[in-house]
């Protein structure tokens, strides 16, 4: 369970029933674990602090699972 700080854009992926992701400025994709409702807007640029949950499996399987602790919208 490692803590990370990331900046990127919120995206909705249409894999399986769909999932919310953070695509970082470096191009890496993280799947958001139970994201807060006000974060779930496609195209939202954000800075987030959270934890990588390697004990969680998902149906979207698009990248490491990121549980958000705090976030701020950057634009």
């Amino acid at each position: 369970m490692s803590n990370v700080q990331l900046t990127g854009t919120i995206q909705r992926v249409t894999l399986g029933m769909g999932a919310w992701t953070l695509v970082t400025d470096q191009g890496d994709t993280y799947e958001l674990h139970r994201p807060p409702a006000d974060l779930c807007t496609a195209g939202l640029a954000v800075r987030v602090q959270g934890q990588i949950r390697s004990d969680i499996a998902t149906l979207a399987m698009v990248g490491p699972v990121l549980e958000i602790k705090t976030f701020s919208v950057t634009q």
Binding site: G16, A57, V65
Partner: protein
């Protein structure tokens, strides 16, 4: 004495088994075409005699209309000359028409069978399932639909939507909410379950791969679509402990877990086939649990057979299957199943994409392989891979062993297995496609033949009980030749060759007189005590000949008795009481000959 009787039991047993085998073979052949082709019908065909005056036909039609409330109509504009009419009706009407006075004025009254191409389901949206066509599904359905197999779907649960109405379920468990009922609150699990076993041939919705298999819903992912490794591991063990044959896991994560790995090893030891999605990160390695040993990792193909852009590939990928690829504003390239709308909980049709959709294709085909008798998960994995359509120059291992091919996998599984379907297919192909021979099972009166074989066996058993020392193949051969002959040969026709040699070989001695001409009338020279008498005179001096005489005489006793009971016609005597008396008297004389020969001691030469 006891030892002698025991030593006699063996050849008698062989004879009985031979009789049963021949009987079983003939029964299979005689009934197979009807079983395989038993059609549906909702109307009947009335073919009036061509020479019947039109007024009489009209009278009949009016009478039928009065009786049934509907008037038969000409089958087509071309049916007038043949006087071929169609009337809506069922088995009951068919029976009553056949018994009516009408029967003397028609050439035939028969069911108007509905012909359809086999194995194409009647589900209206089957045409949208490019994914099932691309895995050669119809060929596999010819042999199996997954009967007797249980597939555990470890996912978000399963909700029994309308197109799962005819699908069987076994009890599962909801590890998220800790309850027995494992309903879906996301839609993913129900969609995955649909690919495996959507109700098929129900005139509704779409088809599933192993639609006669049972589903075991195991909910480990929440409504948001995520769950813990510990719940997944417990679900795997639950499935293995509760009779699951196949586990599908359309989920994955990025963390290695010893608990999960142990659970997989446990299920594998219990002979469960485990299939998992490779993951959707377009990354060069399968996700967990797909990448573990003993898990078949499945990458996703689009509708053109190319790796879907999202699909993981490379290390760990064993096989590829349709996962779909959705366009920006079209869902035609996805995998269509009925699931539920998570917002409302109501049934909904969804076309989805993902390796989540690819894995259940493989799980479904694994269920089909298990249902045709392949037990070991290693064998199933090997069959899936060996039968896959290989992709040339797959340097990045996008496809593993290749594209999943359900038809080829099931065919390969059945190779080397002796089974009825295989026999029938061989029979059909040899007989009807290559046109080399033709078999008419209906020509042989089957049950009388079985009665003759069993009757001769019982007579030999009776005789043996008070005259020990009878047995061996000479006796058995005599019994077969005397009672029934190699009767299945009578129905065999080889194109362009005369049939009489087969008829002769397929006839018992009793029937031999009429065999060359193909007549069913018994010839009194053959259907009498004359042959056993001749055998007695010629063969009695030889120990083997004596047994052959006994066998032949007993066989003919049975054949003549059955012929008498069934009033078979005898040349010159008709088929009435005189013929029956003649046959019965000769049957008794034959038994007397057998008895006489059995009591006669022969000194070994």
């Amino acid at each position: 004495m006891v030892g002698k009787i025991l030593s006699l039991a063996k050849p008698m047993k062989r004879l009985l088994l031979l009789g049963l085998f021949l009987g079983g073979l003939l029964w299979a052949v005689a009934t197979a075409p009807q079983l395989m082709n038993r059609g549906d019908y909702t109307s009947l065909l009335l073919d009036f005699r061509d020479d019947l005056p039109a007024e009489t036909v009209t009278q009949y039609l009016e009478a039928i209309a009065q009786e049934t409330g509907q008037t038969p109509t000409l089958n087509s504009a071309f049916s007038n000359e043949q006087q071929l009419y169609v009337i809506e009706g069922d088995r009951a009407l068919l029976r009553s028409l056949k018994r009516s006075p009408l029967r003397s004025d028609v050439q035939s009254i028969e069911p108007n069978f509905l012909y359809s191409t086999q194995a194409i389901p009647n589900d209206p949206d089957y045409s949208k399932q490019w994914n099932l066509r691309s895995i050669n599904m119809e060929r596999a359905w010819d042999d199996t639909q997954g009967e007797g197999i249980t597939v555990a779907v470890i996912d978000t649960g399963i909700t029994p939507v309308p197109d799962l109405k005819d699908t069987a379920f076994v009890a599962g468990y909801d590890f998220v909410n800790n309850q027995v009922e494992a309903l879906d609150d996301n839609g993913h699990g129900t969609h995955v379950a649909g690919t495996i076993a959507q109700s098929t041939n129900n005139g509704y919705g779409v088809a599933g791969i192993a639609y006669k298999a049972k589903l075991m819903p195991l909910k480990v992912l929440s409504a948001e679509g995520s769950g813990t490794v510990s719940d997944i591991a417990e679900a795997i063990r639950f499935a293995a402990d509760h009779g699951a044959d196949v586990i599908n896991m359309s989920m994955g994560g990025f963390g290695d877990s010893q608990v999960l790995q142990d659970a997989i090893a446990y299920a594998h030891r219990r002979k469960v086939v485990i299939v998992a999605a490779a993951g959707n990160a377009n990354a060069n390695a399968a996700a967990f649990p797909a990448r573990y040993a003993n898990v078949i990792a499945v990458s996703a193909l689009d509708a053109t057979g190319v790796k879907a852009p999202y699909s993981n590939f490379g290390a760990g990928v064993d096989l590829s299957a349709p996962g779909g690829s959705l366009g920006a504003d079209s869902d035609a390239g996805g995998i269509l199943q009925e699931t539920l709308d998570p917002a409302t909980g109501n049934p909904a049709w969804r076309s989805l994409q993902g390796t989540s959709m690819a894995a259940p294709h493989v799980a479904g085909v694994a269920a089909l392989l298990k249902s045709v008798g392949i037990e070991d998960p290693e064998d199933i994995a090997t069959l899936l891979k060996t039968s896959a359509r290989t992709v040339e120059n797959d340097t990045l291992n996008h496809y593993g062993a290749g594209h999943l091919d359900a038809g080829a996998a099931v065919t390969l599984a059945l190779q080397g297995q002796l089974n009825f379907r295989d026999f029938f297919r061989w029979f059909k192909n040899q007989g009807y496609l290559n046109l080399r021979f033709w078999f008419d099972g209906g020509i042989i009166a089957f049950w009388p033949k079985v009665a003759m074989v069993l009757g001769s066996y019982l007579l030999a058993w009776v005789l043996r009980n008070y005259l020990p020392g009878l047995g061996g193949w000479a006796l058995s051969s005599g019994l077969v030749v005397g009672s029934s002959g190699l009767f299945f040969l009578r129905g065999l026709y080889i194109y362009d060759l005369p049939q009489w040699p087969l008829r002769v070989m397929g006839s018992s001695l009793t029937e031999l007189g009429g065999a060359i001409q193909g007549s069913a009338v018994l010839n009194p020279l053959f259907a009498s005590v004359l042959i056993p008498l001749g055998c007695l005179a010629i063969l009695l001096g030889h120990p083997g000949g004596r047994l052959l005489t006994i066998g032949t005489s007993l066989g003919m006793t049975a054949a003549l008795t059955v012929s008498a009971v069934l009033s078979y016609p005898v040349l010159g005597l008709g088929s009435g009481a005189i013929a029956q008396g003649f046959l019965l008297v000769n049957a008794l004389l034959c038994f007397g000959i057998a008895n006489l020969a059995a009591k006669t001691e022969v000194s070994p030469r």
